[in-house]
């Protein structure tokens, strides 16, 4: 019952302040109980983190699969995923938490995080390249698909960093500029 509320509060607070800077007492207070009561639901602070991290990864994985499908065109798929990423950063709690955890993990949990993240990263890379190769069925690319895929992931990282650094508004402007650069570079004749 309240285990769900605890997970939500943990994601929100870990995402905002980081793992080390979030005491269990803060999570407990957010759901209206005392810190020791958390131990009726989780074995330890690390256990709580692992639980919510795995949950957040699987949510983001579903978002990715919904946005970037093999059938969608590049602008319907890749561009949409970029825009939705920015939107989800303020609309959800799992994305801020995820970005923070992945880019600067708490040392003791780094191994677990890296392991789970590999699944997501591999799926991301696979889908991006798939989307780009699908594109060439209609229109040849101005550059090799593997290089274009690498650059897309770099652009996604730039948007991640801007989200962490300056928030969704700045990241939205950046997304526009980066996508225009990217789309222009993909055209075989540069238009």
């Amino acid at each position: 019952m309240s285990a769900q509320a605890i997970r939500q509060a943990a994601i929100r607070l870990f995402g905002r302040q980081g793992y080390a800077a979030t005491p269990l007492s803060a999570i407990a207070a957010a759901v209206g109980i005392k810190a020791p009561s958390l131990y009726a639901h989780f074995r330890s602070k690390e256990d709580l983190f692992r639980t919510v991290f795995d949950e957040a990864v699987s949510v983001e994985l579903q978002e990715l699969m919904a946005a970037v499908t093999p059938e969608a065109s590049v602008s319907d798929g890749l561009h949409r995923y970029l825009r939705e990423t920015v939107g989800r950063y303020e609309a959800t709690t799992h994305l801020p938490f995820l970005l923070r955890s992945i880019y600067l993990p708490p040392p003791q949990l780094a191994a677990h995080i890296r392991e789970r993240d590999k699944v997501f990263s591999a799926e991301l890379a696979r889908r991006v390249e798939q989307a780009l190769r699908g594109q060439t069925a209609f229109l040849p690319l101005g550059m090799p698909p593997d290089e274009a895929a690498l650059a897309f992931i770099g652009i996604l990282r730039g948007i991640h960093a801007e989200l962490l650094y300056a928030g969704p508004d700045a990241a939205q402007r950046l997304t526009q500029a980066l996508w225009r650069v990217y789309a222009r570079a993909l055209r075989p004749d540069g238009r």
Copy 2:
């Protein structure tokens, strides 16, 4: 004498493990003294952080000014700064420290960090746009300079994120791919 050694150790450890996860005893041990002895040189842990952060900002500012001069061409200036950023990430201690502090600051120090970083960000934006406008003296741009400047900063952020996420080797490959995309988008005819 040893105040310098303390600053170096602090930058290295804060950069590797973060502010909260680095006890003063670790910094003291790194220079061969005990934790309370640090108070002969600094008023508090926060004071130590502020000192080394300001130092790191000023070092990076000088690097920027050396790489991106008004006279240099876009590829001599902007491209060089990207490549040197990746190189400095493993060759120096101040850049890992700086990226970590700026993207995910310790809450109590966020105000100070943001304030000092504004100076650097403003100078960065100014120089990038200057370099791009200088470019049009030789060759017109394929897109508006302010948009191209924004995209460049986004690309720099992508490289920052990749440095944090995967380290210098992956970041170097990413830099190549992103610069090729960027340079292609800048050409008036796309070549």
